[in-house]
Symmetry: C2
Subunit: 298 residues, 2 copies
Amino acid sequence: MRVTIYEVGPRDGLQNEPVTIPVEVKREFIRRLADAGLTTIEATSFVHPKWVPQLADADELLADLPRRPGVRYPVLVPNERGLDRALARGVTDIAIFGSATESFARRNLNRTLDSQFDMFAPVVERALAHGLRVRAYLSMVFADPWEGPTPPEQVVRIGRRLLDLGCYELSLGDTIGVGTPGHVERLLDAFAEAGVGMDRLAVHFHDTYGQALANTLTALRRGVTVVDASAGGIGGCPYAKSATGNLATEDLVWMLHGMGVETGVDLKALVATSLWLAERLGRPSPSRVVQALAKEMR
Amino acid sequence: MRVTIYEVGPRDGLQNEPVTIPVEVKREFIRRLADAGLTTIEATSFVHPKWVPQLADADELLADLPRRPGVRYPVLVPNERGLDRALARGVTDIAIFGSATESFARRNLNRTLDSQFDMFAPVVERALAHGLRVRAYLSMVFADPWEGPTPPEQVVRIGRRLLDLGCYELSLGDTIGVGTPGHVERLLDAFAEAGVGMDRLAVHFHDTYGQALANTLTALRRGVTVVDASAGGIGGCPYAKSATGNLATEDLVWMLHGMGVETGVDLKALVATSLWLAERLGRPSPSRVVQALAKEMR
């Protein structure tokens, strides 16, 4: 068995950091991730710098990424303006970002649950016409902070529309990290009943309540083979000094290798990368594996 | 479905704390745990104070524990001297602590893998004769720091001998936290093949590499229904400020309640207890759920 890790650290991780990271550090981070064996590394985002100032250097970063055979660098693209910039930079993989709930669609996208597609449709259509691969994120798939639990049938309805636009993969995001293995099973079963194969789905779990790895395991058992993770566990809601957001890539790799599942990742090189980055971020990695192996490696 | 949580915070948690906790604080901690709905709370240990000075007040603590119907307070008993003290205090539940590896038996018990039973046998025999319930811990079930991986057949052999002594339950401890769901499955399958029912087993996982909850989930799926956990995730190897040892009871309860599994635990009362204790320990709880809910509860 093989699992593909979709590394989101440079984008989803760094976009939430309170400090501004120099573009050279980002480039070095990405180079080290690729050297550690990660093959899908979401590099940055073309969201307007007003909303995500940490990624305002997207053009500069993309101008000089390390070329590695078999390594892809998807870029988050929120709208047609972002797509123009992606095309100008020769990007080959993009990701769009949808909401599974009405409240988050309004707050994050300034759209309704249904009108968000007015924004996505032309982006995906043009991207496909240019031969790009388009991934779709769907956020708040188990609950959001305003409406509470998200009905699985609503997630399936919105998720299917994203796939039907032509996205090759749908990444199911538990943005606030409240879900448990029971939630994962119910949602994946709902997708299966709607005829969506597990090969079209990825999972994107946050460790806010410590559930990310157990939830990921549950998805793997159901047949999902693509997992989003963030090197060192960076990102999320940094309200505490070492608060945790995304599932740490290292914790995932430890589990997978222990289970005899191939990832192609050199765990020690990855931990060294997260330790190197932690020094630049000025805070320790919240990853358990990074903390445990740091001791041995010093 | 119902899962029984075997709370080890007052013993396995506090025995590793660098600061000395006043006996009144321990008593209050235990009272709050019982009030939060925990029904099995390992209170302390009769290990010689030379080895575990943090629990030197075992007699004083046991002299006045909160009486609650249906709540049991097991005590760790290493040898006959410890049993004498337990009997003098009217303890009804004890636990013995064995090693699954030769190296840890020598270092922790000053015995060989086989001669450790010379120590246990008279303890269990006398305890049973006095009508006590005896639990057995087995440590290093996946690996130890000296020998590397522990052969499952060796764990089963030693574990069966502990059960055959008359222990009602065997708690399988991944003392260094390196195991993954694959390890859990292999070991539980080996026990099942040897004719040991899952109703005789409990699991005791450490979160050193972030695997504790995923491993616990795997054991639950295999039919285990007793899980060891430590309120707030206290204990383990406190080499870092918020280092993590035992599986946090709160993270376990969050998962179980999200899966519709009953525990009888009031999660908010438990989190409040861990926040209260963290102030007394002078360091934040490493539990993700405690960290996340602390914000709401303040």
